[in-house]
């Protein structure tokens, strides 16, 4: 039996100062979870970190966080590796330049704990993009009438920064990023593959992730190169209509 109820895993590559607000937001969200009586494991995963990133996160103020370094040059694979290291019943991810709303972790855990279905993946209700570009959009539950697989086949519904039983990442690994071969958007791929594997994505009301858009983000680079996800079986023409739809 794990001693931790939740692992919050933060991935970093070249972040330094912008990680300050991210880390503070993480601590505030963790505090809310701990106040509710849950134990939280703090993980920092560095993927081919720059020396500046290593130095920044080496500050004593972050000593409560377990630090792990990888050399994947692939955020998805880093997340998969962190899922292997994590010991919380639940696992949540944060990128080192993004922020959590302070209620996110607790609200998501509370919602999942209250479900009879233990194969659910929780997402914040809103994604709030800021800095390099500004957009605010919803992440509807699969059971919402706003969910349609036809949209999902062309555009991702669910960001990677979610909370779920750790098992979700153990069952469904992130596909390796391979922009040269025309493949990217591993979060979109993962969302589709988890549904295929029987997981249900739900939206947690009144919660947000604040995603910092850099001048050139990975997603923007992927869009510029016009790459796509790998082919996912249920998106075939004759099966897509029923894909992911939940009883309302």
């Amino acid at each position: 039996m794990s001693q931790f109820d939740l692992t919050l895993a933060i991935t970093a590559h070249a972040e330094t100062l912008e990680a300050g607000p991210a880390m503070r937001s993480a601590e505030l969200a963790i505090a809310a979870v701990e106040e509710a009586g849950f134990a939280v494991q703090r993980l920092l995963g560095f993927d081919t970190p720059t020396p500046q990133t290593t130095r920044y996160f080496g500050q004593p103020r972050f000593d409560a966080w377990e630090r792990h370094s990888f050399a994947f040059a692939d955020q998805g694979e880093t997340r998969s590796a962190l899922a292997d290291i994590a010991s919380g019943r639940y696992l949540a991810f944060l990128d080192a330049d993004d922020l959590l709303s302070s209620n996110w972790l607790l609200a998501a855990m509370t919602l999942l704990e209250a479900q009879s279905n233990d194969r659910m993946i929780a997402h914040p209700e809103l994604i709030w993009q800021f800095d390099g570009s500004n957009t605010v959009y919803t992440q509807p539950s699969q059971s919402s009438p706003l969910f349609t697989p036809h949209h999902f086949a062309m555009q991702n519904y669910y960001d990677a920064l979610c909370l779920a039983p750790r098992q979700a990442w153990q069952e469904v690994r992130y596909a390796p990023r391979d922009v040269q071969a025309g493949y990217a958007y591993e979060d979109w791929q993962w969302a589709l593959e988890t549904i295929e594997a029987g997981w249900e994505h739900v939206s947690v009301p009144d919660t947000l992730i604040f995603k910092r858009r850099r001048d050139v983000s990975q997603s923007q680079a992927a869009r510029a190169r016009r790459v796509s996800i790998r082919s996912v079986a249920p998106l075939a023409i004759d099966t897509i209509a029923g894909f992911g739809r939940q009883e309302r």
Partner: protein, 730 residues
Amino acid sequence: MKPPFFKLSAAPVSKKARETARALTPPHTVMPRELWRRIEAAKRCAKPALYPREYGRIKPYFDVEYYLTRYPDIALAWIDPIAHYIRAGAAEGRCPHPSFTAQADQAQPQDARVTAFGKWVQQGCPDLPLVATQEQCPLTPIEGTAWARAERLFDATDVPHYGARLHKHVLAAWMNESPPGFEEEYYLIKPHFDIAYYLSRSPDLIEKNLDPVAHFLRAGADEARDPQAGFSERGFARRYPDLVQQGQSAFAAWIRAGQGEDLITSAYDDIAELAAAMKLVPITAQKLHRETQADVGQRLAFGELGKQVKAAAELDPLIAQSWPEALDLRVAPFNSALTVSRTIDMMRLQERAHRKRAKAVVLVNRPRWGSGRRMEGYIAHALAEIYGAHEVVVMTTEVGGDTPKGRMPEGIRLVDMSDIRSAAPEKQRLLFEFLRSLRPEVVFNINSRTCWDMLKPYGKALCRETRVVGGLFCAEQSVTGFWTGYPVHRFYRHLGKLHAVCTDSHALVSELSERYQLPPESAAKLHVLSAPVDASIPIAEAPAAANPRKKVFWSGRFDPQKRVDIAYKIAEAMPDVDFHMWGEKFLKAGHQGLAPAPDNVTFEGKYASFDALPIETADLWLYTSEWDGVPSILLEVAMTGLPIVGAHVGGTGEVLKAGLSQPIAPFDDVAAFVAAIRQTLAEPQAARNQAAKLRDALIAERTEAAYLQAVKVIVSAPNGSDDAESEREA
């Protein structure tokens, strides 16, 4: 100081009504909460002692919200608006309802028993003429009086989470009055106008202190600056032109139409199809979209969501800069016009493919004119033979229209994507995703530009997942005379990714192999699909030898490639012979200098099918061309036993066998053409005998069985894409 009419009204909103309104939770409304509470309190006023009958008469029709929006002085003074109207407003010409065109009624003193509005009510609220003005609404500032009123109205407990600064500007805009002469439309739309939304999207108006509603009337409507999230000025005007009056905004038209829930206000033309994808009717989908925006908007402005944003903005102030976007919340799947059309276009294509997979896909740019199967038809027939017709999809990507009868096998699915008008990058992505959704074993691209272009960004992924075969015909010359076309531009770029390349001629294979010095493994990807001949075409009888004038037939596109000018020169040199020419009479740019046809040339127009040609009246077939593959028309003519004199260029030599026909090189040697024609006409029987042998030779070489076998070889080989091979090796 109290306003002068205060004593006239003597009907303040009661303390109880104020407290009741204060305890209410405002719904999501574009109106500031401070004003909304005053309106709610005003609605709760008891009937006054004075003029109770008139009060009772007009109350059911009195638009309190409208009155207090139009006359914020009354709202600020906490006066019962109905009582105010009876005692003073009517005499001042104030207007209690947007459909009531008020005139100052000086004949109605303060003690009048029936107001002008009361009379209108008694008459059954008849329609009154709209006071439309031809003038343009001026851009007016938010006046100092409005700012002062906003200060009085401001309540710190009702400040939305996006902050007091924007909120105060919104309040001041609400307290501002209409430019004179524009009251009717201004106050009609103002109660529904989301000032915070409009200002956040046009921050220049904040800097210039301009009234946003007046700005909308003056310029915003024309500039498609929308008055609230979920209402598209342009979308509504496009959808309901009959409702929108000249010179007035679509937004006003929508309000006049009662903001009917049966009216679509979305910006997206494809809302009905998106709704269908959601298994909803369009109105329900729109309602869901608007309700989600309203609900989330309310929680952002006043609820936990907004509180969380505010707290996060204290950690990083940059977060607050996304508030304008939050007021225009993107609700999936309605995110943007681009994402909606992307989804809908995909659904359209899938619908056209009957929502069934296909084992083979043939892509063509357009249904090409002319008879015969052409390469796409032969391939489709072979694929239908291999997989079954129901497993074959033929797509037209650039130009739609009917495919000539008989070209495609019965039972295949024809999918036209030429009507999809998205920008090229989107169309390429759409084609890529659509092809993947079909889960085909093989895709043949026969001249689809979209497909060739798509292979650049998506080729690696697509070619790894399925066999993609590029079909190539001879290169072409541009109007400036330089070589261009897919064999020149695309072959070297894509051969590595492709499973195979098929051509119609050995000549092209030789040319490509030589030019690019292909190594054996690359050369092995090249396949010649030699078009079968139709042996059922009967040998045509020869015309009577006694005919005084011989007839030469010619057919083709009147374009630079087919060198009509050479045909004319030949005709000119042979005035004793009649030339009959069929084809599409158009000339590309750069070929405008064609001389008038000689007198012995007759232009016959297009023919519906090859068998419609009066071949039995012809003595000879002339074929001119500067460059070529294996023209279908030559194969058809060869089956009739008609002698052929033709240019020996590219792949024509694979039909015009020496000794059995008269191949001419170089292509522009008019004298050689004339000599060959003269010789053929002089010895008709010998020429017919050669032509019959040519027919036999082609029938032996070019069989459907051989073609089918060649296609089978291509589709049954393991995916030859370099990436697929690497993956297999890995």
